[in-house]
């Protein structure tokens, strides 16, 4: 027989457990009325989605002008992708203070987690950006994948440009940057990459340059609205930074040379100079750059090796009809022409690297990678060493094919009126 007292205690304990369970369930249901979500929660219609930020030197010393490009979904828009372009500039002493200014004006909290483009004004870039961008790498909403661009002139003007296609300038720039590999005509720098390069001894960061393009400028024409205001943006060339300050600009040719040497070329077109009345345009299909460091009695020597696969897309100038054998020989000559064109761009970049001298090509870093003991010898006097360093270039081009045709269109009569041979 069981102990009746023990049995009674068990029943009592079970009862208490049931009461506690019911109490807990009631408490949980009741607490739902007091839980409104996360602390500091903001509804979507309380937020202003920032796509691009422009940074300019303020009017007062030490001030920064923040320009926010905000993409606000249109109410009642025909499609979900329709957005309003809100631009707001505010002058503050410290970056985070701009957030409260935006709120005071728009009654919305700027959400900077969507920021894709950071445009830096020329004047600010020249005076130094490292302390200004601290907030962009510290504040949790920002991402290190943001793209950096240097503006010729003011960043504010770039973001305020009214483009002909009504696109937001920040979004237009973003589209071009993200599809850059299709044309490989300017470098791409994310803020994370900039910070990594900033901490390197043997390499200086570069940032692409954007400029407002008026009709007829730079060989580009378009029909703008009356008043001649720039309505297009041109991404071309790059700015070279040294300890956070813009110290020099790279031309289009120099920045393209940088792209070849730094293995950043996806596909692009390249035209050759004329030889015997013929010039060629080729489309780069693949490109691979390599480098080596050698040392002889004269000192260190740096060598770049480029292997480029292209397809011929245009042959300019008149050619007689060619047999397959003659065409093969012509292709070999054309490869040399393309190689020369590539060498010219690369050489321009190398010359600039030595001239500044601020090693944006990262030759110093490459020496450190390949020959760390040599780097230890030269690092303290690197700028001087760079100026005297022989840099060789070895470009190998293969024309994979020449499109669907061989030589240029043939006419039985040449321009002089005589029959072709």
């Amino acid at each position: 027989m069981g102990n009746p007292t023990l049995g009674g205690e068990l029943v009592e304990a079970k009862k208490i457990k049931v009461i506690l369970k019911r109490g807990l369930i009631l408490f949980l249901i009741f607490s739902l009325f007091f839980l409104e979500g996360c602390w500091g929660k903001k509804e979507v219609d309380q937020l202003a989605f920032v796509i691009g930020i422009g940074l300019d030197q303020g009017k007062k010393p030490g001030d920064i002008i923040f320009t926010f490009q905000i993409a606000q979904p249109k109410k009642g828009g025909q499609s979900g992708s329709e957005i309003n372009n809100w631009i707001l500039s505010t002058e503050v002493t410290h970056a985070p203070l701009s957030e409260e200014k935006v709120f005071e004006i728009l009654n919305r909290y700027p959400f900077v987690g969507t920021t894709k483009i950071l445009v830096i004004g020329e004047e600010l870039a020249k005076s130094g950006i490292n302390s200004v961008i601290d907030s962009f790498q510290r504040y949790y909403q920002f991402r290190r994948t943001m793209y950096m661009i240097v503006a010729k002139g003011k960043a504010k003007d770039i973001l305020n440009t009214k483009l002909r296609n009504d696109q937001l300038p920040a979004l237009s720039l973003l589209g071009r940057i993200e599809e850059n590999k299709a044309v490989s005509s300017f470098p791409v720098t994310r803020i994370g990459h900039y910070l990594t390069l900033l901490s390197r001894e043997g390499q200086a960061p570069i940032i692409p340059v954007v400029d407002r393009l008026q009709p007829g400028e730079g060989g580009i024409d378009y029909k703008g609205s009356e008043g001649g205001e720039a309505e297009e943006l041109l991404l071309e060339g790059a700015g070279v930074f040294r300890v956070g300050k813009l110290v020099s600009y790279l031309t289009d040719q120099e920045s393209k040379g940088y792209l070849w040497l730094e293995n950043e070329v996806g596909t692009r077109f390249i035209s050759t100079e004329e030889m015997n009345g013929i010039s060629v345009t080729a489309k780069v299909i693949r490109s691979k750059s390599n480098y080596s460091v050698t040392q002889d009695e004269k000192g260190p020597r740096f060598n770049y090796q480029l292997k480029v696969i292209v397809a011929m897309t245009e042959v300019m100038g008149s050619q007689p009809p060619m047999s397959p054998e003659k065409w093969a020989a012509f292709t070999g000559d054309a490869e040399k022409l393309v190689a020369q064109a590539i060498e010219k761009e690369c050489q321009a970049a190398i010359n600039k690297d030595k001239e500044i001298p601020n090693d944006f090509l990262g030759i110093g870093r490459h020496i450190e990678q390949k020959n760390p003991s040599l780097w230890k010898e030269v690092r303290n006097n690197w700028e001087k060493t760079l100026q005297d360093l022989p840099v060789d270039l070895d470009v190998e081009v293969t024309i994979e094919h020449s499109g669907v045709d061989r030589n240029t269109p043939v006419s039985p009569v040449n321009p002089e009126g005589t029959r072709q041979e």
């Binding site: 290190r144 994948t145 901490s199 730094e262 870093r365 450190e368």
Partner: protein, 361 residues
């Protein structure tokens, strides 16, 4: 008496050893060994193997006893009590620090406005539920959560490939092996956290000869696999950020998570990962709670409920003493370096050595 299987031992061991070590690993080893920091990770974790094997051999000799009980039997009652009290204090203190670290991770990365007591309260409720359910349930929890954490870490590493900086890992061993050795020394305490936990877990391990043999192999698997995961994360952090930036970032992994972009459509998925990291944090805090609980029960002979009353107030007060994130990093490093490492080293070597010496006699 609760018992866990050898597979549960593997998963529990891996979950506890990994814990949240993947947060500071990149910063810690890169600050000592620069771009070679990743080389320091596996040797440091393998350092825990001889100590784990010593504990398993003690478990074989003194079945169904934890390290405190074995110490009382081998070194005497008072030595057992002294080591036991040290283990209790260190485990409760370290558990509290780790709980604060879990909160710190959330505050810095996605939810900066939520007061830390709200995190702590909800976190402690989960820890208490886990601990109250027993070590077997905790092992089952690890069987589910650890693979998810491992997959998330490997996924983060793979999705970070587009962000790799060309040649960032080169040159190897630019400054020789010495900085790597310093890196190893920096993180040697981490596997010793597992060694301490194993000391408490001995009582619940399977006792068969074959099972103990299996567990000896599994100790290798645990430390090697966790070492590999941490090495992978360190490698990726150095490859993406470079050694200087990797040293500067408090939780490099969270920054990596923010940089993940799949095509042009998916980004900002770090909050999904953060929930997974919370699971890892929960395992580690629970492990130290368990250690404290077992210690209090063994040393003072208290019942489970009373032992909870002893631990809860102390463990929940510790996070309040560290409101500054910067102080927290220092406190965790110091606790690892000056409390956990010496205790585990001295205790296990002394106990195993005396036990072995007596057997020889």
């Amino acid at each position: 008496m609760e018992r866990i299987s050898t597979h549960q031992f593997l998963m529990l061991g891996a979950g506890v050893t990994l814990g949240t070590t993947f947060f500071p690993v990149g910063m810690t080893v890169a600050s000592s060994a620069g771009r070679d920091g990743w080389m320091a990770v596996i040797p440091a974790f393998l350092f825990g193997i001889p100590f784990s094997l010593m504990l398993l051999s003690l478990a074989e000799k003194y079945p169904q006893k934890n390290l405190i009980q074995i110490t009382e039997q081998v070194l005497g009652k008072w030595m057992g009590k002294i080591f036991g009290i040290l283990a209790i204090l260190i485990s409760i203190y370290f558990g509290g620090l780790l709980a604060r670290q879990g909160v710190d991770m959330f505050s810095r990365s996605i939810l900066p406005l939520i007061p830390f007591w709200a995190f702590l309260l909800s976190g402690f409720v989960l820890v208490l539920m886990l601990v109250n359910a027993g070590i077997e349930v905790m092992a089952r929890f690890c069987e589910i959560v650890f693979p998810i954490v491992a997959v998330a870490l490997i996924g983060t590493a793979l999705l970070s490939i587009p962000r790799f900086e060309q040649g960032e890992l080169l040159p190897f061993l630019e400054n020789g092996f010495k900085p790597v050795l310093f890196g190893v020394i920096e993180i040697i305490p981490w596997p010793m956290e597992f060694v301490l936990f194993l000391g408490g877990l001995l009582k619940f391990l399977p006792q068969g000869q074959q099972e103990i043999r299996q567990m000896r192999a599994k100790v290798w698997h645990v430390l090697l696999f966790v070492g590999l995961l941490n090495m992978l994360i360190t490698l990726v952090e150095i490859w993406v950020f470079g050694p200087t930036e990797a040293t500067r970032l408090t939780y490099g992994l969270l920054t990596l998570g923010k940089m993940i972009e799949i095509s042009q459509t998916v980004s900002g998925i770090e909050s999904i990962f953060t929930v997974i990291w919370m699971g890892a944090s929960l395992i580690k805090v629970s492990a130290f709670y368990f250690l404290g609980l077992w210690g209090v029960q063994t040393v003072f002979g208290l019942k489970r409920g009373v032992a909870h009353m002893f631990i809860i107030p102390i463990m929940s007060v510790i996070p309040w003493t560290l409101t500054r994130g910067a102080d927290l990093q220092i406190a965790i490093t110091q606790a690892d370096r000056y409390l956990i490492l010496p205790l585990a080293l001295v205790w296990v070597i002394l106990l195993w050595g005396v036990s072995w010496w007596r057997q020889r006699k």
